[in-house]
Symmetry: C2
Subunit: 337 residues, 2 copies
Amino acid sequence: MKGKKLRATSHTVAKLAGVSRSAVSRTFTPNASVSQKTKLKVMAAANKLGYRPNFMAQSLITKKTHLIGLIMADWDNPYYASTLRSYGEKLQKEGYQVILVTVNKKSATSDSINFLLQYQVEGIIMLSIIPSQEMTSLCDKKDTPIVLVGDSSNKIQICNVNIDHKAIGTKLANLALDLGYKRIVLIRGNKKLKSSAIRIDAFKKVLKKQDRGKIIANLTGILGHDQGRKAMKDIMKLKPKPDLVLCSSDLTALGILDGATTDFNLDVPKDLAIIGFGDAPISSWGMNRLTTVQLPTQIMIDESIDCLFHQIKNPHNKAKSIMLNSTIILRDTTKKL
Amino acid sequence: MKGKKLRATSHTVAKLAGVSRSAVSRTFTPNASVSQKTKLKVMAAANKLGYRPNFMAQSLITKKTHLIGLIMADWDNPYYASTLRSYGEKLQKEGYQVILVTVNKKSATSDSINFLLQYQVEGIIMLSIIPSQEMTSLCDKKDTPIVLVGDSSNKIQICNVNIDHKAIGTKLANLALDLGYKRIVLIRGNKKLKSSAIRIDAFKKVLKKQDRGKIIANLTGILGHDQGRKAMKDIMKLKPKPDLVLCSSDLTALGILDGATTDFNLDVPKDLAIIGFGDAPISSWGMNRLTTVQLPTQIMIDESIDCLFHQIKNPHNKAKSIMLNSTIILRDTTKKL
DNA sequence: CTGAAAGCGCTTACAG
DNA sequence: CTGAAAGCGCTTACAG
């Protein structure tokens, strides 16, 4: 007779403790009006039965699920694990749990949002998602706050926390010119990402304005170490030969670096300079020493959470976007100034 | 007058469609008995109102939340992002969503489990968690299946999917001896992890049995690139000097490698050989080329999900643990055979 | 401080 | 195929 023991409910506990269900509920509600005496009785019964309130039932009444949806694409990024961890820890500290939805770029993000809304999440954070109008109107209908981290879209009214890509593009161009680079290759991943487009536009604008330096190739669809290393083969065929490769990700840059040194025996930065983006931990390890752009990751996380909570607490708040500064870290894959 | 529009419920939809709430419910239940005609009416109303069933309310009746809890520690591992992604994708494909709980080693995992149980998760997967009796008895009380991935414990009756650490420890020892290494340093992270303890025991046993080779240091509490690189300084002080460092993680091994080559100008593997564990992507990049142990990561993920679903479907199933084989990958940080 | 009652949004026998 | 009713496990006015 290993019959399934019924799960303890407030009813069971109330019966055992000899009180009403209300009393049980109050015992588990902070600052509710219960006498110490009944509280103790209820606790004893609850412990005996292994009872804890059912959040699902609770949420039906309180309208609070304490659930935040996190939608992530672009998983190839090495610092995504730590980003995710930070979100998890911060959100947990605030008393929220995260429902994680993974999305490959092709799949419909709208479906994920719909799913999350059915779980009555109190807010949604989207990382590296290319936003669409449809997605946001979904959340609008349900009054669920949403914040987009890492890509912007002027067409969409949505709270967006992002790097100031225009500024960093300009900075990068000035650096490249100051260091004397003249034949530049641009490499990035998904060209639909607004962020990199903005950065590159700003970069180009500086070259044009100063009438120095030239972009001899503008490669897209290349992301990660292996694709970078492979792309290096095509880059070697270019003539004139480039003197700088500017990447949209550190991993890609490290692939280029590997290709250049291991496959083609180039001297970096003498024969070819490389600049990454993101300052992944690996980029500063012993032999890599990549010049790159350091992102204020922790600040982005904090700001996006603040932004979300602000919307949760003030439902009729307008979407206020936030722009963050990033810094170029000079290491060994570029010439010294 | 931007009054909050009330969320659509089955009631609202029913009224608009001119049918009963049952009809609405049936429309959203696959294979329920509804006529095409009412279904269409309901759908029209639902779309107009932006209605979708509330999962929380639904779960109260169906006893299904389609939620799986994922508890992770040990986030420093670089392949954790991809592991997480795989879990997410596979689980989503099966119609489940994941609630992610992050845990630092110190914090009480029991609390996380309690939390997840309150959300009525249908199962829990724990990654790199050091299990305790308390945790499992919690799940037991609620009849919630749990599977532990990546660490075992003989004291605990729990479904465990893990590498056969004894076997790989033996293999590693035989390899080390075959390659002629004699003065070996062992490095690992948390010494409470049963897995590495088992591996090391098996390793030692071979040395003892063959009466060859010697462990000249057994370092614990060292995990990740930076700590590895730092540990290399202590290793250099050892005498006699070691000829092999065996690490419990690729990242640590890469730190050792960086320390050896960058900080101490050693020739790897001539002056010092290094073996990692895990075969992280980085380990095979251009300049690293680390000899390491390749783990059947995808199989572990698949097996652990299968194991969980099996328990969900057969509630009275015994916990059957699974042992997986791993393979040594010979690259450039050890001598050739 | 306490309990009976109503109700959150849903599904599921039940009777028609 | 359809609807009225009961009920999932909880909380929250309400009256005492």
